[in-house]
Amino acid sequence: MIKFENVTKAYPDGTVAVDGLNLEAPTGKLTILVGPSGCGKTTSLRMINRLIEPTSGTIYLDDQPTSGMDAALLRRRIGYVIQHAGLFPHRTIVDNVATMPILLGESRQKARTKALELIERVGLPASFAKRYPWQLSGGQQQRVGVARALASDPAFMLMDEPFSAVDPVVRGQLQDEFLRLQSEIGKTIIMVTHDIDEALKLGDQVAVMRVGGKLAQMASPSELLTSPADEFVADFVGRDRGYRSLGFTKTAGAVAIGEEAVVQLGASAEEARAKATGAWVLVVDGSRKPLGWAQPEQIAGGELKREHLNLSGIAAAASGTMRQLLDAALSSPSRRGVVVNEHGELIGTVTATDVVKAIEAEPHLETAR
């Protein structure tokens, strides 16, 4: 657990970057600090490992005030990831990752072995181990940054906009992999971002800060969407928050999933026409994994081939959220959204109307503005 108690930071030039901050990041959870540029997020984060000293107030690490600790020893207990990774240019990737364990007195050999494991764990090939940072792309460096912070197996992690220096596609991948990793390792993490979508996607709880370094609201992502504390938070969370809040509503069997007739590649035009509902028929592979939609008219006498497939639809997991379900329906050319089980095998399809009906039946969503 990391706890801020009345923490204030005023810089020598008089700027009050953080003002009376009270906040608790529970053990094993991912807490996100979000807010507009200059609202004091980085300052707050860096006060935890005392790269910046608070002007007043106390920060506790598992109920011990950090002010009494040796700063270097304190930092060795906390993993820290920054925007551009900040890798050591003069060390190989594996030695970068092994830095903390070696600093903590582990043998070089052991530290390297562990580092190699971590490099693979964050999704990099082991062959990268002997490279130097300049030989990696920005996204790859960012992964190394995460691996390096994890290497000493710290109980706490601080991350300052760790995914902001990469393009949206890579960012999405890094976020997904990071969520998977966190579900395995369960660290106490505080992450800073100014991207509200990232905050809502990753956070167990989200702290919204306003300029002047004050906490505006601290809540779970869905609560933030459904009941923002004030005008500022509502504005910051965004206009389509009603739609986005669906991302936090589990389907949990609330939507009726319809049967869908399917064909496989190689089927004749007649068979496809017979199985189709309306103009479209769903195509699956041998193990009932959806491949795409096809229009029997276009097969024109021959047999169903890959080039006939329309790939625009996105499959939703039955265990997923209302938002994914609605998205599946709206993105499908047949307007029937494909629903799959945890192995990716077809369960059936849903229509947008079905999903909306289920949403309207959902009681707490009525409170959403």
Binding site: L51, F88, P133
Partner: protein, 216 residues
């Protein structure tokens, strides 16, 4: 060129070359050792930087022959003592390298320094294991300049009668004889090139991590 003369003087020339190497290399090493902490100090303090760099600039302005003559006053040595030369060249080397070391440390990316601090390096650990190693290319560039100019500066001491390769120049002048002059110039240039090459190799050995670009 009178090859025969060179053959007869071989022992003398080797002796002069040996002195030249000593008078060049000792100040280079001493100068680097002194410049490292001073440069670090200048890097650490915004107020010290202009002071140290300013004083270094002034020292650099003093012509070498003048410095050779003035140092005995300060050191209490005899005018012919090679120690004066070592001291003078050490001063020049420090004057050149203080700024180089400060700028080298300044050239280390802020992210890197912050990362080291955040991982719990104490400031001396960060300096020794991160900042200095990353600053090596800038420092060796400065060291190359210092080494090459030291070779040339040492030969000025011949005018005061301190033996090294410069003695070949004065000897040639007195005898109106080209051979020793040309031999001296060639040996100076070769020595400078060898020192330069050694520093390049040392730099390469210390920085396997830099992108291999075609350097000028």
């Amino acid at each position: 060129m009178n090859i025969e003369w060179l053959g007869r003087q071989f022992d003398t020339i080797v002796f002069l070359l040996g002195w030249h190497v000593l008078l060049t290399v000792i100040p280079l090493i001493l100068g680097l050792l002194i410049a490292l902490p001073l440069g670090w100090w200048a890097h650490r303090s915004r107020r010290i930087y202009p002071l140290l760099v300013g004083v270094a600039g002034l020292l650099y302005t003093v012509p070498s022959l003048a410095l050779f003559v003035l140092l005995p006053l300060v050191l209490g040595t005899k005018i012919l003592d090679p120690l004066n030369i070592v001291a003078a060249l050490t001063i020049y080397t420090v004057a050149l390298l203080v700024r180089v070391v400060a700028d080298a440390l300044e050239s280390v990316p802020e992210d890197t320094v912050q990362a080291a601090k955040a991982m719990g390096y104490r400031s001396w650990q960060s300096l020794l294991k991160v900042e200095l190693p990353v600053g090596v290319p800038v420092i060796s560039a400065g060291l190359r300049v210092a080494a090459v100019s030291n070779v040339s500066l040492v030969s000025v001491a011949a005018l005061l009668g301190i033996p090294q390769l410069g003695s070949l120049f004065t000897q040639g002048f007195q005898l109106r004889f080209f051979t020793p002059i040309i031999a001296g110039i060639l040996l100076c240039v070769i020595l400078a090139m060898i020192l330069d090459g050694l520093i390049i190799l040392l730099n390469r050995w210390l920085t396997p991590w830099t992108p291999k670009v075609v350097a000028s």
